[in-house]
């Protein structure tokens, strides 16, 4: 039928335009993240000597060695020039072949690993045929390893971050969870006011709170200690936890608890045996949310740490202080971002559920 055909055409036109819009949006979202990841796999040479910079990291580096009267010359293939370019100032005469120096240079500049024997083998070929071309596989994770080697205390900072986040999760989930249960099951005075605490605590800049907090924490002997930082993070995370756990507990019908009480347990027993197991996935989501919150936090941490910085502080200082090169910093950022992204995607259902229950 004609109208049916028209309808189908109209529908497919509509769908096509919808998906074009969607692809456009996804492009805008994914595009910068893609480069963040891409840079983190690039060698110094790719990031700094090729222009325009490559869009994707290569998996190998191509080299050429030739020989003239002065000695041996090393070249690397430059994709933007589409030719071999001189690589390093380093050429050596026949008498002093510092092979290990060459190996180190290749490793540092091109993230490629080659053995001394291989180099010597290639040099012999050069001797015979005056030049040699070879490619070496790139070590894609080199930046990540280097980041932790080069940046002082980066590994220690990850440990600090984990401890801060862990302590925050415990504090926020215990205190916030109790509050959330009260919200879900009882009416009490000041309930609405407390619900808005999430807003109130944000009204005073977190950075500014850090200043008096330094004094308080110092008095408690917790300044520049992971626990001290987590005490500060918990202020924000407790109010989030109240919101999330309240929505989690509300989704568990009170009749289930009542049934457990009729069948012989106390109110506390009913909570332990019925509500808590049912709430566990939601509480786990809440824990992950707090974890992400403190794992990502940098502002208060910058102020409140001195010799025991958290991981974000290290990356931040590397970025702002230009301690590291951009491919190293992106590697640090990705290392920090990946757990946060994974956790967020795991709990995305709960994030929506939580906000569904939040109204000013």
């Amino acid at each position: 039928m004609n109208s049916a055909l028209q309808r189908q055409l109209r529908r497919s036109a509509k769908r096509t335009s919808l998906y074009i819009v969607l692809v456009g949006i996804l492009f805008i979202i994914i595009f910068p993240i893609f480069f963040l990841f891409s840079f983190s796999f690039m060698s110094d040479y790719e990031t700094y000597s090729e222009w325009p910079k490559p869009l994707v990291p290569s998996f190998k580096a191509d080299f050429k060695i030739d020989k003239d009267t002065e000695g041996y010359h090393l070249y690397i293939f430059n994709k933007s020039e589409n030719d071999f370019m001189p690589f390093g100032p380093l050429f050596f005469s026949n008498s002093e072949k510092d092979v290990s120096n060459l190996r180190k240079f290749i490793k540092l500049q091109a993230n490629s690993k080659i053995t001394d024997q291989k180099i010597e083998e290639y040099l012999r070929i050069v001797d015979k045929e005056s030049k040699v071309e070879f490619s070496v596989r790139k070590d894609l994770l080199a930046n990540y390893i280097l980041f932790f080697q080069v940046i002082n205390g980066a590994a220690r900072a990850v440990l600090n971050s984990l401890m801060v986040a862990g302590a925050t999760v415990v504090i926020a989930l215990t205190i916030g969870g109790m509050g959330g249960y009260a919200f879900a099951r009882y009416f009490f005075k000041g309930k609405n006011l407390l619900k808005l605490s999430v807003l109130f605590v944000r009204m005073f800049p977190a950075v500014s709170l850090a200043i008096p907090m330094v004094i308080i924490l110092a008095r408690m002997g917790l300044y520049d200690r992971p626990l001290g930082l987590s005490l500060v993070y918990s202020v924000g995370q407790i109010s989030m936890s109240i919101w999330i756990t309240a929505s989690v507990f509300m989704s568990i019908p009170i009749s289930l608890e009542e049934a457990a009480m009729i069948f012989g347990t106390t109110r506390v027993g009913a909570f332990w045996h019925v509500t808590l197991p049912l709430a566990l996935p939601g509480l786990a989501a809440c824990a992950m949310y707090s974890f992400i919150g403190s794992w990502n936090e940098v502002i208060a941490a910058v102020v409140l740490t001195q010799f025991n910085p958290t991981f974000p502080v290290v990356v931040y200082k590397a970025l702002v202080g230009s301690q590291g090169q951009i491919n190293l910093i992106t590697a640090g950022s990705v290392a920090q971002a990946v757990p946060a992204i994974i956790f967020t995607l795991i709990i995305r259902k709960y994030i929506i559920q939580m906000w569904g229950g939040v109204k000013v």
């Binding site: 039928m1 109208s3 049916a4 028209q6 309808r7 529908r11």
Partner: protein, 367 residues
């Protein structure tokens, strides 16, 4: 007032899931049509396609001869009462009812008059300034009704509008809806899964199952001349009792043998059964057509399993072999569980069904 024609209408949700497989229906002017069926039968999908809320996969919809298959809901000249009322909580009752009139740019005085009229008709004339949150479920239902009536639609759609009301209010609203229909004479389509609702309100009932029409007919048609075992079992409470029977023709008589009884009928009244000589078929008997017979002419005698008093009558359940058989017995008859009682069938009200196809075998004895 309008006519509605559905031609070869179908809705496919995904490759494997059909909402409606095939639907042909002519609705006459002023008619009150009820779409009836179990959940998932496609009745709501059909209504949503008529309303324009669901795109049509195949087929056409004509309202008053005009093809409305592809035009948006607002231009169809329809109105609708939703199952959960769908009244807007942020608007007062007045604004809810006046919504479409305002969009049509009707003069203000006229809007006020029309809203008051319709609100009075459904008895919420006093509540116009309230917000829906302050109303009871029944009152919200009436707001939804008034909103739909205020449009003066060509076609009035109702999607299980009574299902959220308590049992008593539901019966009251049934009567009121019918009275409103008689007053407004709007062509109406009413979706429900409640067969007694359908029976009491419909001019014609469309019984659906698995996205297809099983039977279209007046309440009497579907009750007394059920097209197949599904309809016979679906319509009526308690449902029709079915007995598997072996048929044998013996001269001028047909005998129908069941493990507990044997019916002998004159062939001239049931000549259509001749074809089933020696075969099995199903006979359906409605509960009210099984009568207590304490004489020795009783067809069978059985122990009573359960008695359910209903006030005006009582439902007596028996266990015949493995099947439960329910009968309706007058209230003044004293029946107790465990009593052995004789029963007889009303032979003028027997329904015969083909065992394989489950379709009705028409007989000359039909009323």
């Amino acid at each position: 007032m309008a006519t509605l024609e559905l031609v070869d209408l179908a809705k496919r949700f995904s490759k494997k899931v059909w909402g409606v497989r095939k639907m042909d229906l002519d609705v006459n002017e002023k008619e009150f049509i009820v779409l009836l069926g179990p959940s998932g039968c496609g009745k709501t999908t059909t209504m949503r396609m008529v309303a324009g809320l669901e795109e049509v996969t195949r087929g056409t919809i004509h309202l008053d001869g005009k093809d409305i298959t592809d035009i948006p809901p607002r231009d169809r000249g329809i109105s609708m009462v939703f199952q959960n009322y769908a009244i807007w909580p942020h608007m007062t009752v007045f604004d809810n009812i006046a919504f479409s009139l305002k969009l049509k740019k009707m003069p203000k005085a006229e809007i006020r008059q029309r809203v008051q009229e319709t609100a009075d008709m459904v008895k919420i004339g006093e509540l116009l300034k309230r917000l829906p949150g302050q109303l009871s479920g029944g009152q919200q239902q009436r707001v939804a009704l008034a909103r739909a009536l205020a449009v003066k639609p060509k076609l009035f759609l109702m999607d299980e509008p009574l299902s959220n009301l308590d049992a008593k209010l539901r019966v009251v609203m049934r009567t009121e809806l019918k009275a409103i229909h008689q007053q407004t004479e709007a062509t109406s389509i009413f979706v429900t899964h409640d067969q007694s609702e359908a029976m009491s309100m419909a001019d014609r009932i469309v019984i659906m199952k698995d996205g297809e029409i099983i039977q279209i007919g007046t309440p009497d048609d579907v009750y007394f001349r059920s097209a197949n075992m599904f309809v016979a079992g679906f319509i009526g409470t308690p449902p029709t009792n079915f007995f598997n029977i072996r048929c044998s023709v013996d001269g001028e008589e047909i005998s129908l043998k069941h493990s507990n009884f044997k019916l002998v009928l004159p062939l001239k009244d049931f000549s259509e059964l001749d074809a089933y000589n020696g075969k099995e078929l199903v006979v359906g008997v409605r509960p009210e057509d099984i009568a207590v017979d304490s004489s020795d002419k009783a067809l069978f005698t059985n122990k009573v399993l359960v008695v359910e008093p209903q006030g005006s009558h009582q439902v007596v359940a028996l266990k015949l072999n493995d099947a439960i058989v329910k009968t309706i017995v007058s209230a003044d008859q004293s029946v107790k569980p465990g009593d052995s009682i004789g029963f007889n069938f009303n032979l003028k009200r027997l329904h015969f069904f083909n065992m394989e196809t489950e379709n009705r075998i028409k007989t000359a004895s039909e009323i």
